[in-house]
Amino acid sequence: MRDLTSKKLFPYALLSPALVVTLLIIFVPIIQTAVMSLFHYVIWKPADNRFLGLGNYLQALSDEVFWIALRHTLVWIAGTIVLQLLLGFATALLLNRDFWWRGLARSLILIPWVTPSVITALMWRWMYDGNSGVINDLLVRIGLLDAYFPWLANSSTALGAIMIALMWQGFPFFAIMILAGLQAIPDSLYEAAEVDGATAWQKFSRITLPMLVPILFTSILLRIIWVANSMDVIYIMTGGGPGYATHTLPVYAFIRAYKALDFGYAATLAIYLTLFLVVFVAFYVIKVLRSQENIG
């Protein structure tokens, strides 16, 4: 006990449970995935398992679905982030103003954010329904549609329809982050600008936006990583279909693992996705390290 509480070892002793557990359940498995990606590994056909080297990686490059999924991943990230950011930004600007029910409004807009993905997916799927969906009913009533449209069963609208569900689920995150950023801008800046006769637009473009750049950068980066990985809503809403219309890389990897039990190839797809994300993660880590230095 004396040794454990000695100044040098104590911090490590406190850390050790968390470190041991993460080592066992995160690092060992990740290495296992990397190893698996070098094998032909279909779990219910153990006799067929054999070493392939980079075979799976090469196979992916000539796999048409891989490229489709990669393209969808990019569209998915860009579209979802833009939608979430725009609505989140507007929400933050509104909630930054003073009005009597602001507290209530701020709490209520957080509800989508804590909604389980399964429920998000199910309720949007139900609202999009081609036979009894409320979205179709409303659009027909106001005259924008002539007849009910199968939003999720049509390959040109399916991905966009899911993006709107994700916008619903994710805009509160941007709203909260941007609101925190807005509240950190000193009032004195606006007062000075007002003395100089600045218009509302000038105040927004010369003070608000520049002051928000750091927080926008951080939240967009975090969101890119999150959205790129997020696949449960897609999987439950369309299962990746119709055809490959809503296959993103994680969906494709999940389907290969879950449906085909082709773990070797699924592991390869997961590693490709990881390599793609490493760039964004590295950016984020650099930023965090810098801010840590500033504080410490």
């Binding site: 449970p17 060992v28 429920i119 199910l122 329904d129």
Partner: protein
């Protein structure tokens, strides 16, 4: 900005837009709640009903009599509570250590906890399935608790480090002067002060475990079946039991929303603190 605006202008540029956004946030819930009150056989025969013609609790009753929803709730509770205990137990001391000490490798280890959560879930899902299968742990609560620890430990370590950072170090020092050991300073002085933050983190772990679907779908599903998996199972190839799905959705979302309202202030301050400063 400080000028008083005309009420009508304020209504059009502030109250109305906020109302629209709040409406957008709540609409799906309102809609599944309305649907859940409509008897299943009317859903497809009577067209879209905005006010149920024959409102009934039939769907909710069938949820408990037809599918074993009570058992699903129990499974979800067991997994979520155990995940919370494991996550907090392991991370409290780790975050105290990160917050209080400067030691070799500190930054590296802290960053590692941040980065772990950013990689695709499939990366972990595949090997965890193989490991659980080898150990004959598939379809047990234990498998899910372990799987959830992969994301709750890193997250709660970060979260609680920021809560501990907010407590002045002078408190540790005066406890040491008063004759506490290092361990005593932590357990008897700092942890009690950090309790609101720790419990907020715990509730957040509970919520994420309660909500989780992908691991639950792969690592369990027959003997152990949490609510998200049970709901997803109601989607058949040609037939979707929307009455059961919407009522199940309402029941499983309510506890999450209620719990979240208790912790939202603390959670958001923990989440945004770092980002604003950076």
């Amino acid at each position: 900005m400080r000028r008083t605006e005309r009420p009508l202008f304020r209504l059009a540029t502030l109250h109305l837009p906020v109302l629209l956004i709040v409406g957008f946030a709540l609409a799906p819930y309102i809609w599944i709640f309305i649907t859940s009150l409509i008897p299943e056989k009317e859903l497809f025969t009577m067209g879209v009903q905005y006010l149920p013609a024959h409102p009934s609790l039939d769907n909710y009753l069938r949820l408990f009599s037809k599918i074993s929803f009570a058992a699903n709730i129990t499974d979800s509770l067991i997994v979520a509570v155990a995940t919370m205990i494991l996550g907090l137990g392991v991370s409290v001391t780790a975050s105290y250590s990160f917050s209080r000490f400067k030691f070799r490798g500190r930054n590296y280890l802290l960053i590692q906890f941040l980065v772990i959560n950013m990689f695709p879930i499939v990366l972990l899902l595949i090997p965890l399935f193989v490991i659980m299968r080898t150990l004959h742990l598939l379809d047990t609560h234990f498998a899910l608790i372990i799987a959830y620890a992969t994301f709750t430990i890193p997250f709660s370590t970060w979260m609680m480090t920021s809560f501990f950072n907010a407590i002045p170090k002078e408190l540790d020092e005066s406890a040491l002067v008063d004759g506490c050991t290092r361990l005593g300073a932590m357990t008897r002085v700092i942890i009690p002060i950090a309790m609101p933050g720790i419990s907020a983190t715990g509730i957040y772990i509970f919520i994420t475990a309660w909500n989780e679907f992908l691991y639950a779908a792969i690592l369990s599903g027959t003997r152990v079946r949490t609510i998200p998996v049970a709901l997803q199972n109601l989607i058949g190839e040609y037939n979707i039991a929307w009455g059961l799905l919407t009522s199940g959705g309402v029941i499983s979302a309510i506890p999450v929303i209620v719990l979240f309202f208790f912790i939202q202030k603390r959670l958001i301050s923990g989440m945004t603190a770092g980002a604003v400063k950076a």
